[in-house]
Symmetry: C2
Subunit: 226 residues, 2 copies
Amino acid sequence: MVNRIEKTAKIPTIKRLPGYLHILRQLHQDGAVDISGAVIADMLKLDPVQVRKDLASTGVVGRPRIGFPIEQLITAIENFLGWNNEREAFLVGAGNLGAALMGYSGLGRAGVQIIAAFDNDLRKIGTTIHGKPILPIEKLSELARRMHVKIAILTLPEEEAQKSVDRMIRGGITAIWNFTPATLKVPEGVIVQNEDLSSGLAVLSRKLHVNKQKTETRQKRGTKNE
Amino acid sequence: MVNRIEKTAKIPTIKRLPGYLHILRQLHQDGAVDISGAVIADMLKLDPVQVRKDLASTGVVGRPRIGFPIEQLITAIENFLGWNNEREAFLVGAGNLGAALMGYSGLGRAGVQIIAAFDNDLRKIGTTIHGKPILPIEKLSELARRMHVKIAILTLPEEEAQKSVDRMIRGGITAIWNFTPATLKVPEGVIVQNEDLSSGLAVLSRKLHVNKQKTETRQKRGTKNE
DNA sequence: TATATATTGATAAAAAAATATCGATATAAA
DNA sequence: TTTATATCGATATTTTTTTATCAATATATA
């Protein structure tokens, strides 16, 4: 029997896969057929060995002097991530970020389709954003269950996060993409992926801050010695 | 002389700091004075040793049986990240995501203030979004230089990314928060922080996909054996 | 005052991730 | 046909990150 579940890749590898997929699709559109790991590494500023190892986890094998078959890689990565079959999702919290995600084409490319958004703002309910209807949050649990929706995207204020998570759980949601800073309490088996913009910002800030201090120190020293 | 630049923390630590800051501010508001690493770990579902090590990198020392002083921790983390002094930023690409970031309060908490957005859509230019003026992208480089803005947030379509990065560089921008999937070419010394929503989505998708396959395998086996 | 203990911080160990090395090989060039 | 070489994939090494252990200690309790 063939191993149906591919060798389990580690989180860092999984996180890099969309980057590979992205340029592979471009290369494919440009008519390229094969690509070497070294070229990919160069395009994405990664280590070539890392690229080869990452790609190996999709099961696709490359050929010496030729590289990897692009089409195969694309389908293998899509398959690996489950991005080649459609899944419906609810979005909870139709604020700024929620609206942005409703218009985010990357979701579609990942096979995720937002079919409705939920909010508690009466002015929003009944309207649509990017073609998605905004429904009252009280309906969340019932509709999730009735429509067999398993994915929820959480983009509301932190204070309301846990309450709406409880609704989701009652509705049978099994995966939550959490954009709030709240640490969600969910029963075992429910997948939570925290998406934290502020942590990326922290890295940027820290680098800037260190740079600045270095510059200032250098300047001060310079002045002192002159 | 006191060491002005704190012990350099590693990236994973830096990424966790905003999470600590967040709950520390809550605790402070609730009137708490000290907090033990174990309690923080519990709140954020982290390892207690990891929390202590992370906090140690801010330079704050805790007391046995008491824990860490909350106020000190808050200012130390803010200081460590440079979040306690204001910096002005430009946003480039006033689309969905751009608009969301203009309304994102987390930026303000990090001391970053978007003072203008740039776009090439004539219908947007001259208007404001969340109180920020939308200016023609041709002005980017000149204004950055004249206003000494050093930070740019990149939220436009990938095709236009590199071109506008070149404008930024000419304008003296030194830090770019990149929300596009493009691998940016910048001169040495310019900081680029890539913020990739699709990588988080990939992790969620993969977990869902694996779960599903497991369930299906189990069901098939169950049927076969009955 | 003496004792018990929650908690830190330092050091050590383990695990995970990134990077280096190198033989095997399929193709292109000689 | 033979040789040279770009590329892979396996294994080994190094580095980074996480997790475990434990002595030191400041406070609370007896």
